[in-house]
Amino acid sequence: MSGQGPLRTLAGFASAAILLFAVAPAVLSDFRLGLLAKFLCFAIVAVGIGLAWGRGGMLTLGQGVFFGIGAYIMAMHMQLADAARLRQDVPEFMQIAGIAELPSYWRPFASAPVALLAILVLPGLLAALLGFGVFKRRVKGAYFAILSQALTAALAILLTGQQTMGGFTGLSDFRAFFGFRLDDPVNRRMLFFLAAGALLLVVAVARQLMRSRYGELLVAVRDQEERVRFLGYDPANIKIVAYVVAAFFAGIAGALFTPIVGIISPADIGVVPSIVFLIGVAIGGRSTLLGPVLGAIGVAWAQTTFSEHFPSAWTYLQGVLFIVVVGFIPAGLAGLWPLLRGAVDRFRRPARPESAPERAASSVEAASSEATGPRTETTVETR
């Protein structure tokens, strides 16, 4: 991954763009394309998780929160837009529930710019707040994982309790997306392109971050937080940035998920779906750039095809995947590639083993030196 020149990267992006924008729409039916669009949303979340967990070592069990904020704000905006077009005071589901007046926290999202701004800003803001509260006090590891999980649980419970937010059943039956009718297949195709474009953009941003000096620091914090602190950096700030970026991505993914799937409910954002986000990332290779994307799409695809026919078998398989991949191939499928290449190399020329501590140390040194210097191979193994 690290030896890629800019030309190869450009070629990679171009082929991904061709695949997503030309090949996929040509060969897939409208239904399959819609499914793929949904998988792309998961992939966007996965890129953020790869950054925070794979690179930063922050196991976030609660990306559902940020995904949910994006998704629900989009849902509220679409409900209000539909109501406005039909000249109704409140969305249809509220009328059925007997709520005559629009709750005050719904009002701002009637405006499209406000809704969009909130989708882009709120998840990151919440992540920054939690990050400050947690990382600045050097709470980490399992404690952070638990807190991120508790936050998702709290949001899911809050949403199920609110009649005005659709409660258990969530929000659905959207007619239009910023004025474009959702029952029109052409518009649904546009939604797919939107998701594909967002994914490419997110991957590009993550790539720049990972290859920058900041990216090196993030890995250094993951491997040797104390040493980074002694070198004069504040590990908390480094972690907060990665967590905020991951939340930002998840928020965007959520906002796209709602119009694409047509329903958002607490079941989509709760504790279990938040942890299940991680499985694709782990399978693909948590600390690589493309591993999480491909892993997320692959797992989502497997789930759809599998659970249609054998719903209970899929749950077992999911459990087994968690155990086998996380427990025994922590580097994911992407980690098998260097192993294979290493085997080939060893076959070609005499072995020159590089010990793990040396590698960890060199990545910290590279991060601390002022010169950008030659990039060091990042260790794939995480703690």
């Binding site: 994982a145 809050l158 309790g161 999911q318 459990g319």
Partner: protein, 294 residues
């Protein structure tokens, strides 16, 4: 006054449930730094054990007592199997253990769904536990009093066991300093298995108690797991007194906030309070000073 007493009792009752759910979790977390996501499914195992025992033993009172012991055994064996089969391989990767045990939890849940079916199962409450007692002007259900007593007994037995039994002494030694304990001839392997047995057994005992106040479904463990985790975070590492204090504090806080708002808003407020609390004491109420957890 009556309202305050009522809320006080609700809080204590919730606290005792949290305590039972979190006691074993905090024990294993304190000793091995491992967060066991399958702990909720061990609670569930206790619930279904009660259900099965009641199919065999028809005298409900006897069935409850038998279930407490059978549950402890079932949960303990499941926990020991998990430790020996999976967790021992990844002590240096506590975060990964969290996800691996989540996978185990998924499998156990689905197993329960396939064996017992998705619909909730009910256990008949023994006659001597039905109805309520009038305390200070409020009626409190006997089942909840029983759970409170059970929690107190569990803590007392655990405390005495840790203080006096050979295994307890070994557990304390390993918690305080694993390397030194090994140097002194303590097998940390057997101690870890023993700790997991006790911790998981306690989870199942919590499950047995839960059947008295609600029905059992395959996802019952999930609903208590997050709260149990929070108790462990607040209580600090593997300290019984921390867990006890944290469980009752959370229970009381929840019941009093819930009284003035709603259950769902209370959850959010409690979460915010926990994050604020961590600003003051990042490592929880009590910690073992001699061993730092990276």
């Amino acid at each position: 006054m009556e309202v305050a007493v009522g809320q006080l009792f609700t809080g204590l009752s919730l606290g005792s449930i949290l305590l039972l759910a979190a006691l074993g979790l905090s024990l294993t977390f304190g000793q091995m730094g491992v967060i066991n996501m399958a702990h909720g499914e061990f609670i569930m195992a206790g619930c279904y054990t009660t259900f099965v025992v009641q199919q065999v033993v028809h005298a409900t009172g006897v069935a409850l007592i038998v279930s407490l012991f059978a549950g402890f055994l079932v949960g303990g064996l499941l926990g020991a199997a998990l430790e020996m089969g999976l967790i021992r391989w990844m002590y240096d990767r506590p975060l990964d253990t969290l996800l691996v045990t989540f996978g185990v939890g998924l499998i156990l849940q689905q197993l329960a769904r396939n064996i017992f079916g998705a619909p909730a199962k009910n256990v008949v409450v023994p006659e001597w536990l039905s109805g309520g007692l009038t305390l200070a002007g409020t009626v409190v259900p006997k089942t909840r009093l029983f759970i409170l007593v059970l929690a107190v007994v569990a803590v007392a037995v655990l405390a005495v066991a840790l203080k006096t039994t050979p295994l307890g002494r070994r557990i304390r030694a390993v918690v305080q300093n694993r390397d030194l304990a090994e140097t002194s001839g303590i097998s940390s392997r057997t101690t870890d298995i023993g700790t997991f047995f006790i911790g998981s057994g306690l989870a199942a005992v919590a499950g047995v108690a839960l059947t008295l106040i609600g029905s059992t479904s395959p996802t019952i463990g999930q609903s208590y797991l997050v709260d149990a985790f929070l108790v462990v975070v607040i209580g600090g590492l593997g300290q019984i007194r921390g867990t006890v204090l944290a469980a009752f504090a959370l229970g009381l806080l929840n019941s009093f906030i819930e009284y003035s708002t709603t259950a769902s808003v209370a959850k959010v407020i409690v979460f915010v309070l926990i994050v604020v609390f961590l600003q003051v004491r990042p490592q929880g109420l009590f910690t073992v000073r001699t061993r730092s957890l990276a």
